[in-house]
């Protein structure tokens, strides 16, 4: 058999840290790093009588400017599992999408609905591999054959399985609300109100969170209610003046009109158009 020379180098697995040294050297020469869009954020999760409720605010910030006033922070993982994400927006988005795809393959392989513990394992192993460089802090909740489960996942890969969790810059305000109001086996209506109050505490007292409250309730029999928005806590103020421009306001510096040559290919006439 003829000798075959492999001209392609198979890349090593894992994260390559080469660029980190390059970035450090560039920064010494005066490069300003681009700002990541972080979500600021208040995300919360609560286990109630029949299932799990996840709550999140809807503001995405770039430093001190609001980049998105109504972004969606509750991500789909599986039909019975949803995940809230705080930290770098791209990281939370892509990480949850990836684990969601892998779980779908897992569903086909096993022929069963996914367990929340599986999603938790996949997420924590992925985040640990990247040593915290993937800046995603997640609140993972869902209902499976063993009942409702709620996990909080930190960017370095540690997880906690708890009845109520909060993450993000507004987590302290939200946790204060939870600690004051949480009871085991709450009814759905009370639990929804408590989650709404916790996210609202983050929205009003933390500058990184704002706008509306989104809720996702995963209940008995893995039934999901995705309420976006659940509570529009802040509306834009009503403008007092009129800011429309008259035609002719923008100066026309020059005009050039070009004829576009065309051939008529076909003609058709439409019957009476109903414009009522």
């Amino acid at each position: 058999m003829a000798t075959t020379v492999s001209c392609l180098e198979v890349p090593k697995g894992g994260f390559s840290f080469d660029n980190c040294a390059r970035n450090a050297r560039l920064e010494e020469r005066g490069l300003t790093r681009p700002k990541f869009r972080k979500t600021g954020t208040t995300i919360v999760g609560l286990v109630f009588e029949d299932g799990v409720i996840l709550g999140a605010d809807t503001r995405a910030t770039e430093d001190t400017i609001v980049a998105d006033k109504n972004c969606s922070k509750i991500h789909y993982i599986a039909p019975n599992i949803y995940c809230c994400g705080a930290g770098t927006a791209a990281d939370t988005e892509k990480t949850t999408e990836m684990i969601s795809s892998n779980l779908q393959l897992h569903r086909y392989r096993t022929g069963r609905p996914n367990r929340v513990a599986t999603a938790n394992r996949m997420l924590k192993q992925y985040l640990y591999r990247y040593q915290g460089y993937v800046s995603a802090a997640l609140v993972l909740g869902g209902v499976d054959c063993n009942g409702p489960h709620l996990y909080s996942i930190h960017p370095h890969g540690s997880t906690d399985k708890l009845p109520y969790v909060t993450m993000g810059s507004g987590s302290l305000a939200a946790m204060a609300t939870f600690e004051a109001g949480y009871k085991a086996n709450m009814k759905k209506a009370d639990a929804m109100q408590l989650v709404r109050d916790a996210v609202a505490a983050g929205i009003f007292n933390d500058l990184g969170s704002g706008s509306n409250v989104d809720l996702c309730i995963i209940g008995k029999d893995m039934k999901v209610e995705y309420l976006r928005p659940f509570d529009v806590a802040n509306k834009k103020g009503v403008r007092q003046g009129n800011y429309s421009y008259k035609p002719g306001t923008t100066a026309v510096l020059s005009k050039s009109i070009k004829q576009i040559k065309y051939d008529i290919v076909s003609e058709s006439v439409q019957e009476d158009m109903d414009t009522s």
């Binding site: 840290f17 080469d18 001190t64 009003f204 933390d206 500058l207 802040n234 103020g237 002719g248 923008t250």
Partner: protein
């Protein structure tokens, strides 16, 4: 190996590290002032914040210096408090020495010198002085932190000044617009100031809660309040 370099440089370095005391903080918020034919309006939001935390929702950033002059300040609250105190004392001294009320332009010039005195450890404050000048026309003086100042018709300063200044340039300065325009009326200027803050509160996290307006005209200084988003 690349990984080992990172750890040596960042975490386990035995080289001496420098520790510095950070003398400034940024307390957020916005101020804006508009001068008309015979009036001036100063608007400021009332939120005092630091980082992601709110210190106060009821802390206006403008103060009356005399019956026809208002000083609005944004930046580091520690320096704002001290500078405000020094300015008020110097105005009292002026009135004792000269036997007359200090005019807006005199106050403006004095503040410029006070700021430059601290050229090598500046007050981290963005000032705007607004009021009626010697002939009763509205005037606005805006400053940089070390005392460079200029008389203008309108100016926005603070955290969201890049968002507000272009809007004022268009609506008051009529930049990039063709046509004839009426002179600015007090009602339209008030509406514009409030609308500016509504927009700033949408996109800047340190602006919100309430906008506090001082309207300076020949009858004195009237104040108005307008609520904003609290998130």
């Amino acid at each position: 190996m690349a990984m080992a370099d990172i750890y040596q440089n960042n975490y386990m370095s035995m080289a001496p590290t420098e520790r510095r005391f950070e003398p400034y903080a940024f307390n957020g918020g916005n101020i804006l002032a508009v001068a008309g034919e015979d009036f001036a309006i100063v608007a400021s939001d009332t939120r005092l914040s630091q980082g992601f935390m709110i210190h106060s929702r009821d802390h206006p950033k403008a103060v009356q210096l005399s019956s026809s002059t208002v000083l609005a300040q944004s930046g580091f609250e520690g320096d704002i408090t001290t500078l405000k105190k020094h300015v008020k004392i110097r105005i009292d001294m002026y009135e004792h020495n000269h036997g007359k009320k200090a005019s807006t332009s005199a106050i403006a010039s004095m503040i410029s010198k006070m700021l430059y005195y601290k050229r090598f450890f500046p007050y981290y404050v963005y000032n705007i002085v607004a009021g009626l000048d010697d002939v009763g026309k509205g005037c606005v003086f805006s400053y940089d932190p070390v005392g460079s100042y200029e008389r203008e018709q309108y100016r926005a300063a603070g955290a969201a000044n890049e968002l507000l200044q272009p809007l004022l340039d268009n609506q008051i300065g009529h930049k990039n617009m063709e046509g004839d325009f009426l002179p600015l009326s007090k009602e339209k200027a008030l509406q514009l100031c409030i609308d500016c803050f509504i927009s700033a509160a949408e996109r800047d996290i340190t602006t919100g809660d309430c906008v506090f307006l001082h309207v300076i005209d020949k009858d004195g200084i009237a104040t108005k309040e307008f609520p904003l988003r609290r998130d």
